[in-house]
């Protein structure tokens, strides 16, 4: 069974979103997504400063089996990326919700958060 922490928000594309409360969010992919991908070998992340619109492709996660696009859950500016994933992409398999966060985004509009799924809505998609 997939782990779906109740304190996070989700998208139907299997990204998780942590609302930090200071106008920023942290984004990664869910336990379900990492299990479906299998062993992750490479993660392509955007540069800090990149402007994203909601549903833009912000990067690629690659496993032994396939490469999958990553979609931005919200609009805003990339203010940090997790560079430790360059050397240890398998963190995504081991700790998808903690150490394997991917990007932090400064929100353009807090109203977009209302469109995200809560944990029980996301769980019901799996």
């Amino acid at each position: 069974m997939s782990n779906v922490p109740s304190n996070l928000h989700y998208t139907k594309d299997h990204e998780w979103v942590k609302v930090e409360g200071d106008g920023t969010v942290t984004v990664g992919i869910t336990d379900y997504a990492q299990a479906a991908l299998g062993d992750v070998t490479f993660i392509d992340l955007p540069k800090v400063g990149k402007q994203l619109e909601s549903a833009d492709v912000f990067g690629t996660v690659e496993s032994v089996k396939a490469a999958s696009d990553l979609y931005s859950p919200v609009s805003g500016e990339v203010i940090a990326i997790n560079s430790s994933l360059n050397d240890t992409p398998d963190l995504v398999n081991r700790e998808p919700y903690e150490k394997a966060w991917m990007i932090k985004i400064k929100l353009k509009s807090a109203a977009e958060l209302d469109k995200l799924l809560d944990s029980s809505s996301y769980q019901s998609l799996l």
Binding site: G38, D39, T41, T60, E62, V64, A66
Partner: protein
Amino acid sequence: MSDELSRTPLYDLHVELGARMVPFAGWEMPVQYSGIIEEHLAVRNKAGLFDVSHMGEARVRGKDAAAFLDAIMTNEFSSLQPNHARYTIMCYPDGGCVDDLIIYRIFKDEFLICLNASNAAKDIAWMNSQVGNWDVQIIDECSQWAQLALQGPFAEKILSSLTDLKLDTLKRFAFVIGEVAGAPNCIVARTGYTGSPGFEIYVPAAQGSAVARAILEKGKPDGLLPIGLGARDSLRLEAGYPLYGHELSEKISPIQAGLSWTVKFSKPQFIGRDSLLRQTEKGVVSKVMIYSLNDRRIARPGATVFSGDQAVGEILSGTLSPVLNKPIGTALVASGINPDTLTVDIRGTRLPLQITQIPFFK
């Protein structure tokens, strides 16, 4: 072909073991259990058990069996001794491949052929269409066998504890027939598709699951793991073994694939001989190359290969080598291109292909 997926005799065992099941060549097969990289390394360092029961089998029996195989296969079978097996290609007259096969000589006049799952029906139909006046019978035994592959440095130790068959003196590509884990009439061959030492075991279908369970149980203390198709692919690519539909096909001949050693031009006639001889003498338009990438991105089948701005080929197979910890694979590249100039386009980025002549794992 029907849309209904077939299940091997080990299906329930895969589900019990928590395998992720995927459709493959018309079969519902385990792609992974614990993870492709972990499974791959288990085979290299300890042992792994594969269910390869999706592979097909056909028996060729009759006074002309050896001569018939010599006439339709690229390799030679009249010279093969009973209790030995040989790898071969079966070609069309134009040199394209019907399939690649391992053929076991059971008796003087009887052979067992291992067929690729996706080609089994096509192969049997093709062989039947070639029988003509030969005194041979071709018997479809696809549903009669479970096939297991036990591979890795501890394979012999584990299997020896489950059979009285003499394995320590069994040479590569030799086989014995007897009881394994209580199942009679098993064929145990020292062959494999991983590059690591080990065995392929043909078990009567009804006993397949019980034999697999016995091997898993006996191998547990040595670190034996069940292995899915994902690691089967990365293992065979490291070892440089072709997979039909990738490095060999109706469009890619054994000469292009670098498998000239399987083509015995010393035989006066066999299907495909004229075309393959012409390719050998005049050269081929394109050939299969083995590459690695100094990157983390995997080149996927179909990705375009460039030399400068010119498209000169395509990727046939690609995976991550857990032993090298970098992407490896094969590409079909036009002849006469300097290998040092080759790049592959991965989602808009051109990465240099490091071409190598020898497999990554021997």
